[in-house]
């Protein structure tokens, strides 16, 4: 299984563009992006505000669709899939981590982490608890199972968000400014966690403004005006 994973490109973008509004007069957020991401990569995307980082991330994370071009995820073309099919793939292959954590305040830590499992078709209910426990142990918060997000610090909340992202064991973790809302200690701790997940075999893709963090990644992509100006190869 591991051999098969390493033998193929995890992500391939072939001439992907994103235009908001009318094709002729609309705003072009991404302009003919060509990108290949291998299994086990740890990639940082950098660039000034409005350069298209988040748009690229949304397309890669199947939250948005490209206006043109091809997107191949795990060997399967996904840009022409229905929203229903994209949701299944998103649940199965992608773990999302947001800058503002995006935990549901009315749910406990356990329930928040359980969310992706609930939407997964091939995980039995009886396994939910063990998987949640395992994910929480990985982020070092196994004692916070029944806490509510408001009872946790920012760093802990982001760790819970990471636990939620990894609970289904996705192929790629996509993190949009994961340390943006954290102090330096917590930011360091969260980044270390992502690093350790990458070392354990996960592919990690992060958008960051922090050049120190970006430098610690295996590869840095630079963007400007919707184009990839440096592929980091």
């Amino acid at each position: 299984m591991e051999v098969t994973k390493k033998s193929i490109n995890l992500i391939e973008l072939n001439g992907v563009s994103k235009i908001f509004g009318d094709r002729k007069s609309g705003f072009c957020a991404l302009n003919k992006i060509y990108l290949t991401i291998q299994n086990g990569d740890f990639i940082a995307i950098q660039g000034p505000s409005g350069c298209g980082k988040s748009t690229l991330l949304s397309i890669l994370g199947l939250l948005d669709t490209a206006s043109e071009g091809q997107y191949i995820l795990c060997g399967q073309r996904v840009d022409n899939l229905t929203k229903y099919q994209q949701a299944i793939l998103r649940n199965k292959h992608i773990g999302w981590i947001f800058q503002n954590f995006n935990l549901i305040g009315d749910l406990t830590v356990e329930e928040n982490i359980k969310l992706p499992l609930k939407y997964h078709d091939s995980i039995a209910k009886s396994d939910y608890f063990n998987l949640v426990k395992e994910a929480l142990e990985k982020v070092g918060l196994d004692d916070k199972l029944n806490s509510y997000p408001t009872e946790l610090s920012g760093g802990q909340q982001q760790r819970v968000a990471i636990a939620r992202a990894i609970v289904t064991k996705p192929d790629i973790l996509i993190a949009d400014e994961p340390t943006g809302n954290l102090d330096s200690t917590n930011a360091e701790s969260v980044f270390n966690l992502l690093e350790s997940l990458n070392n354990a075999g996960s592919t990690v893709l992060i958008v960051t403004h922090d050049s120190h963090i970006a430098k610690r990644c295996k590869r840095i992509l630079n963007m400007k005006d919707g184009c990839l100006v440096d592929m980091g190869l």
Binding site: A87, I88, R90, W96, N100
Partner: protein, 645 residues
Amino acid sequence: MIDFIYRNLNLKLYKKKKMQWFILAFGFSLFCALFNLSIIISGNIFEIKPAWVKNDSEFATFGLKSHDGRMIPTTISNIESLKRSKGVNDVAYWGAQQTKIIIDTAESDATIIYISPNFTSLLEVESLPNFNKSESSSVWISERFWRESFNGSNVIGRVIYLTESRVPAVIKGVLPVEWNKIGIHQPSIMTTSDDLEKYINITLGDEQVPDEFVEQAKKQLSIQLPAFYGFASLTKGFDINDLNLKMDAVFTDSNIRLWDGTENLSVFAMRGINFSPEAKNVLKQQWFLVLWLTLVFGLTNILSLLTFKFNETIHRSSEFSIRFAVGARVSHLLKQICSEHFIFLFAVIVFTCLISNLLITQLVANNSDILSVHSISLGWNFSISILFIFAVILVFSSLPLFFACKHNLFIKAKSDVQSKKQSVLAKFNISMQLFQVITALSFCVVMVNFHLNVLDLSNKYNSFYGQHIGLNQQGKFSPANTRDWFAKIESDDISVSSQSFIQPLSPAINFTSKTPDNPNYAVLNIMNVNNNFLELFANNYFLGEGVDEQGVVLNVSAAKMLGYPSPKDALGARLFSDDPFLLGFKPDEHIKVNGVIEDLPHFGSVSKNIPFVYADIELLQQLQKFYVYYDTSNIETAERVTNEL
């Protein structure tokens, strides 16, 4: 299918906006209960065939055609003749007569219904007993008669005596309760028409007549008595038109007519009371008003729910975005929304049960004379309306989410800050909920006003308005002293009526005015009152004298309908009625018009020009309950009298 894992979330959602949820739940329950009520009542207002007939499409009914085109009774002989007609399978018949009943030593008047022995089998009336030939001289008594005259004790096998000749009859059983109120007759006793000749009394003065001749005469009279309506089951392939072609050949009486189905018998055989057409129209108007208000209320409920859910969906867009981001599909979110509404639905069902039960119990208790609500139909109606509400709530709760998903509203929502749209929707939702509450209150005001606008009539009513006091044959006031008692009430300036002033459940009967050149016929509502009643309510117009043993008082509309150009012309006129006993007059007795009173709004504020005939309440010997009214200045006397009861 439905995951209750988020039970904590559910409760939190309700707690956050508990007042809005409560208004919604209560609104939907009230709507559901009112809708239930409207549908249940509709059967009583619009029913056109006797409730006890399973399917009347294959029957023809027949009787004589009256001057005004209505069906009036004919003879058994005529009905039996129809058997000879091609296309008629079998015939059955029923008829009613007033008779004297003697129980132990107490005498009273009652209505006896005669049915042919094949009546129940021909019309498939499951609720009636079969009368076998071997059970001659046996009768079944109505549930009301059983309660009032026998106090609900075991009566099977007891002997009662019928007619002046004291013919013994053995009680075989008690009829089902729904047979208490069949048509205007409200029968006390039912028996087979085979026994009719036994109850015919022939007196020929002092002359000695052979028994054989008397028996023969009775037999002849029994089949020539014009008191029966016929029912014919038709042979397959024949309809009413085929039978009409054969009519002349079969009947010598050219007035005999056939009617399609049983609806023409509604006046005589339908459950409930026969209202005059004007009164029935008022009832229908009221029903439509209730239904219209109910539907408007339902619509405001739906709009309120819709705006509430739109607002909530936008408010929760961040949560839904997160769910999408971790792989939820639209179906997952719809399931989530559904599961969240189970508590709400449960509350609606409980409230609906409570409100429906309260409304229906009150309505049936206050209108038992007209309303008949079957528990089975009630159950079905209730289940269907709950299912309907269930579907409405789920659809309209999910709709905002569905639209939001369809238009990708959640994908980019990452902020909990209230947007301008949210703020507008929140305000709109509050407005809708206020509108919902205002509609519900308006509904109540309109309904109360509808019935109580009549209070403008005078400030003569007091808190005892509409109160009824039971009067039964076994109680303190027996028929023998009813008259004395009413006379005492009269002297104490207390007003009484046999029916409630507003929404009177008044029977209507046919009257003929005996003007020499131009006899007029009209169906008029009847009510028995005392003279205090007329004086209390007549604010503007009361001509002539009050009610007494010989005469009645008409209202202006009744006088007009009977063809008198002005109310004055009606004074002293003589009326004739088919069913004078309902007013307490004897059969074939002429009724004098003593006075004419203004049109009182008996059916509420929308009712004007409903014809009424008022007769003396003292003439009634059987009265289950009556209504007491009195001038507020007379409150002490009234309280003393009512306390004496």
